[in-house]
Symmetry: C2
Subunit: 755 residues, 2 copies
């Protein structure tokens, strides 16, 4: 744990600058607008250790996978969102000294991410020889004009005189650290000094992955535009320079406006014109006016999604930071996109799509965004069905297999134990259809496009199971469950359970699908009979004595002992133990059996839940950021309030406190929903199966109050919980019967009910 930012309800702010924390600071001050994003690199450059990162949503490149032990069916490349051309560069020289916080003297440092506005500011006093200059930076990525990045730098001479040179750059000569090791993958197309643009293209590849073109345009706005400007360019780089002279007491503001367009939206030959058009639109308003538009849009998002916690500012800051970063990554405005595990905050996981989206993001977005946002996520998978069919075929199987890691639907990761075996995703991903339908009441998706997904995946499962004559049951061999600390196991209870659920749900929904959908999927009677047989005879391991479901065959053959028995200094085990030791240990990375109990919550008795929780949670090391929230929710349901709070704390400030010592690589975006889920589904006990919204709230002992809003079936509902009890307010929408702690109440618009 390492906390380098101060506690503040609406800001991530620090007054310290330590070189050794630079990368961590950069991760924490990353900003994005779900079109693009960048780490908290400094505009003026920084010669110390730093990870430069600018990322464009949906712009990626194949990383050649060089393995000496290639196995049949391996994808040929590992797709990764690559470091895009950098556009924030604004180098500054004062009286011939280059401004570089690794080298110059400075004081009064402040770095602050304003969460309310989505605005990054930084200020410090440069202390040169005979001169002191205060610099104030502001930066935001516009959320209503997505192609726009705005930067403003104000210099104020506090003492002495300053000859200041500015050099604004666009730089396509960037490399990645985590993939395509140190290769240049952006090829220059054109630098236009007059138009202040550079255009670059990803280099050719042998994998049939499309090449992307990106055009960047910059334009400076500052007082005294007559100041002599020089523009220079070389391959994939452009720089505009000018200088000013300031006497003591004088200030000077420079605004750098940037437009970024890509071949995802605009054809190569139209990019320059489009960028000009967008730049004109941007510059038709002042920096402040643009910021006001941007802030207003953020205000709307916060109105629906803010969670207020009274009495625990650290918790308050944590959940707002999580919501902010999630929304900066994805707000459902482009169906071609999805939520990468690190968003725009680092290179790890390559910005691709994982099952995290459906399992962890969907239930939160259902609550705090419009249904269209979630539907866009469902549509994303539907649009990639062709790739899913391809994946199944690569493994010699029928139907559709959604990939572990992807940009296109085609699998683009290649550890066999993950790609080939962590197939539970192929039920978890369609499970989002069930979630969406349950929550919104909108059956149109599952009746039509959703049926393509359900039948495609059901066909995969029906082929993937095999019948064991020995057990007289259908079994599933050779899988990796959500607990990736087990590989190639047989009859993982979660996988078998979810596969069975998927087939069962498909069979249930099929007769209610549209005629067209039924015709399209064309399920034969014979197929249905086979599916029913699998549903009726799926093997689901359990130990009757212990009253638990068996995570996998042979689980009890392990040396079962609690996490507390791990000697000090050996955690996280994934940083201390060799892989084989982890695999044969009883320790669990993240919810596995309990993930199933969480998903299919109403199918299990409280006794089943408790026995499984009491058996598995003590074995769980929570070394996935996705783990604590699920356990917190179940603990809350079981009345284990202390445990629920303890695990909530691990999820809410995971990055703010650098719990797992890896935030330096980027933020844990897809697990950021965990804190919201822990409060809403855990503390407040929200459930929504069978068209019945219900709550069962409690509040941690040392909190005064918490409140949140949810958007449920065209209603906006506020839930407030304090030590005295809970209040529900129907802010907007038709009357709604709700269960609170088992008691039905009727919500009416404008009314608050104590429950």
């Amino acid at each position: 744990m390492k906390r380098i930012f101060e506690i503040d309800p609406w800001r991530v702010v620090t007054h310290q600058f330590k070189e050794e924390d630079k990368r961590l600071q950069e991760s924490m001050t990353a900003i994005g607008n779900d079109y693009m994003g960048l780490r908290g690199n400094f505009e003026e450059g920084y010669s110390g250790d730093s990870l430069q990162g600018t990322y464009l949503a949906g712009v990626w490149f194949p990383d050649k996978t060089r393995v000496g032990w290639w196995k049949n069916g391996y994808p040929e490349y590992f797709g990764k969102s690559i470091n895009a051309p950098s556009f924030i560069g604004l180098e500054i020289t004062i009286n011939d000294e280059k401004l570089d916080l690794a080298k110059v003297n400075f004081s009064d440092f402040e770095l602050s991410l304003d969460m309310h506005q989505g605005l990054l500011t930084r200020s410090f006093i440069y202390e040169g020889k005979d001169v002191k200059v205060k610099f104030e930076f502001e930066r935001f990525l516009h959320i209503t004009l997505k192609e726009a990045a705005l930067i403003k730098v104000k210099a104020t001479v506090l003492s002495g005189e300053a000859h200041i040179e500015y050099k604004s750059t666009l730089d396509g000569k960037v490399v990645n650290e985590d993939s395509n090791y140190d290769e240049y993958f952006w090829l220059p197309i054109e630098e236009d000094q007059e138009a202040r643009t550079i255009q670059v293209k990803t280099k050719e590849n042998n994998f049939g992955v499309p090449q992307f073109t990106v055009l960047l345009k910059e334009s400076l706005r500052h007082e005294g535009q007559a100041v002599t400007t020089e523009v220079a360019s070389q391959e994939a780089k452009l720089a505009e320079t000018f200088a000013i002279h300031l006497a003591e007491g004088e200030s000077y503001e420079v605004e750098k406006d940037v437009i970024v367009v890509t071949s995802r939206d605009v054809a190569d030959e139209d990019q320059k014109a489009k960028a000009s058009e967008l730049m004109a639109q941007l510059q038709s308003k002042t920096f402040e006016e643009n910021l006001a538009d941007h802030t207003a849009a953020w205000q709307k998002r916060w109105d629906m999604s803010d969670v207020v916690i009274a009495g625990d500012e650290a918790a308050q800051q944590g959940i707002r930071f999580n919501i902010l970063q999630l929304f900066m990554t994805y707000y459902g405005e482009d169906e071609r996109l999805n939520v990468g595990p690190k968003g725009f905050t680092g290179e790890k996981y390559g910005g691709a799509t994982y099952w995290d989206t459906e399992a962890y993001i969907v239930p939160m977005y259902l609550g705090i965004t419009k249904p269209e946002v979630t539907k866009a996520l469902l549509q994303y998978r539907h649009d990639q069905l062709e790739g899913a069919y391809h994946n199944a075929k690569q493994q010699g199987l029928a139907g559709a297999l959604f990939p572990m890691v992807t940009f296109t639907g085609v699998e683009c990761h290649n550890e066999w134990e993950i790609t080939f075996e962590e197939i539970h995703r192929n039920a978890d991903i369609p499970f989002a259809i069930y979630q969406y339908t349950n929550y919104t009441g909108d059956e149109s998706y599952v009746k039509d496009e959703g049926m393509d997904v359900l039948v495609g995946t059901a066909r995969f499962w029906a082929d993937r199971v095999h019948f064991s004559k020995w057990r007289n049951k259908y079994v599933i061999h050779g899988v990796t469950g959500p607990n990736e600390y087990e590989n190639n196991v047989n009859n993982n209870w979660f996988t078998n359970t979810m596969a069975r659920w998927l087939i069962k749900y498909t069979l249930e929904r099929l007769p209610k699908a549209t005629e067209e959908a039924q015709k399209r999927v064309n399920v034969t009677e014979e197929e249905k009979a086979k599916w029913q047989d699998i549903v009726d005879n799926m093997y689901l391991g359990e130990d009757k004595n212990l009253g638990i479901f068996l995570q996998q065959d042979d689980f009890l053959d392990k040396d079962i002992r609690p996490v507390s028995s791990i000697p000090e200094g050996q955690r996280p085990i994934n940083q201390h133990w060799s892989w084989d030791k982890i695999l044969r240990s009883p320790f669990i990375k993240q919810a596995d059996v309990l993930q199933g109990i969480y998903f299919l919550n109403d199918e299990y008795t409280m006794e089943q839940k408790e026995k499984n929780f009491d058996f598995y949670e003590p074995l769980t090391v929570h070394e996935s950021s996705l783990s604590p929230c699920i356990h917190s929710i179940l603990a809350a349901e079981l009345g284990k309030k202390e445990k629920a709070v303890e695990l909530y704390q691990r999820t809410a400030r995971l990055d703010l406190d650098n719990y797992n010592n890896d935030t330096v690589d980027g933020l844990h975006i897809t697990s950021m929903s965990g804190s919201w889920l822990a409060i809403v589904q855990g503390f407040a006990g929200m459930r929504y199966n069978n068209d019945q919204l219900s709550f069962k709230p409690f509040i941690p002992d040392d909190w005064n109050k918490y409140s949140f809003k949810i958007n449920y079936r065209d209603r906006l509902i506020q839930v407030e919980v304090d030590q005295a009890g809970s209040k529900l307010t129907l802010i907007k929408g038709e009357n709604l019967p709700v269960l609170v702690s088992g008691k039905e109440v009727e919500l009416k618009e404008g009314e608050t009910i104590n429950a």
Copy 2:
């Protein structure tokens, strides 16, 4: 299956040259002298598709392992024998046309590897414009002067006149295909035109792997030494050129002598002098005299090891080819070396040491070489114990773990499912001590150095097992057995059996060890008690109903069906199925349970052997070259003669007939012992446990006779088997009682016994 060489009892010969078979031809005509070796590349060069390969025993380089999913404990590099500087180059130009069989016209091609002499010859008639020249090449790597390579080319003008230019080259600018992809890893040190030497050094690496220096010296011998010679050199290359003029009917011989010394034997600064000294020694004799020395040494090897088969020339050729190639790879004259799976015939498997040596090479070498040869192989592992301790420590375990792939004892391969899990090697490797002791009767090794190996590995196993409260037994989780078509399984019967055997054997031998050895290994009473408990309570899975041992937990939960049920066109499955499908299939790559029954043959009843063979053999796809021989031996023991012969055929001509369609990469050196084992342990039924040599011979129906000699406890014994029966002759040595088909006979020197 593809047969590109003719059947001949003592030659591998072809009169065809097809461009598409060039690489395959190169593998088949590789030669070596267990100091160095090279593929059958052409002296004059070849511009078509070809794999250049020259390898020096024990000279290797670390290949950086680039995996995006690095797991704790992974070695940092993959060690590989690299392509060494090429020394055979002798380019030829006739009347300004470059001799290049990919381009010129030629006829009367013959390429022949004389197995009796270890001599490679090639001849053809070059048909140029107005000129025909017959070229005859001879090449051998001297087996008594190991640093020497000798090449002779004779040109005879059949018609027209020929101006012939020769260019003899030494070339350090070589790359690898399979590793260190296209990098140059040989750095030039010096080219000395006067001395006709080049000296090169492997480039630096970050892994602490020693850099190797190699010096090559060439010297031409030809009539009329006064012919003008020019010498040119550039970085890591040297060329010597001269030209002659031949009229019709004239011949001309050029001999290229080469000396290769390396930093393994000679310090960098002494290499040039040493090479001169060796060159003088070489050139003190003519080519013919050197060849005579070389051939005489081969004759000695053949005297002891030849297997004669009458009535089946293909089988005869196969077994001689196997013995030749094995001896060209390793003859036990350097304890620092071992037997790479592809010897000096290709890049695959990187020339490193695998457990193949102990399991497949040792039992053959015991029979046909001096005991010292096998002892050198044992000593090799003893010398690498430090590395083995390091490996165990990397995995957080006690004791010593011999590596899967190594040059130094330190693991240098990194698939977790192999490196971390295929640990049965840690009993198979020490099993060679048992084999050696049993066969030779020499107890000195096991009493002393052997005890270090046994105790080191026993300590590993004692830590690696764990006690299952559920089964009330010791179990071993997370392993890969010899059948690599299963990964990360629990309680692999073979692994559990061999681990138990290892501990048991260690406990038995410990009290008989030398006092010094006992002191050195310092096994406590407590340790011994723990070990005994493991021996007494090791879990060994079996199914009493079926009467079989269980390959692993859950094996019977598979969809068990015979190999014959695999649809046509899908074999070998490793070239057609994705890895997950292979893993969950019931199909077995190579002997696993049956490997255990082969190793510990006298511990099982005939009924146990038969039931296990009948259950597992039909599930076995034999997709490892190491598989058929073990099954052939067991089939022979069980009286399943047809099966034994069928599986013998698969092993004997594996490369000659390119059975697995991969000989193009190099020969299957370590499995070449399989054909010898199948004849001697299989057909002739030789066993040697409990100080009792025994045979139980049969002969395939269509063979007239087979005979072989074995070297057993200072005796040379010949065994001859024909359709009438068998004869044993004690060629040399003291009387010896032998069991033949259960009947004891007494062998006496010079006498032949019909049995």
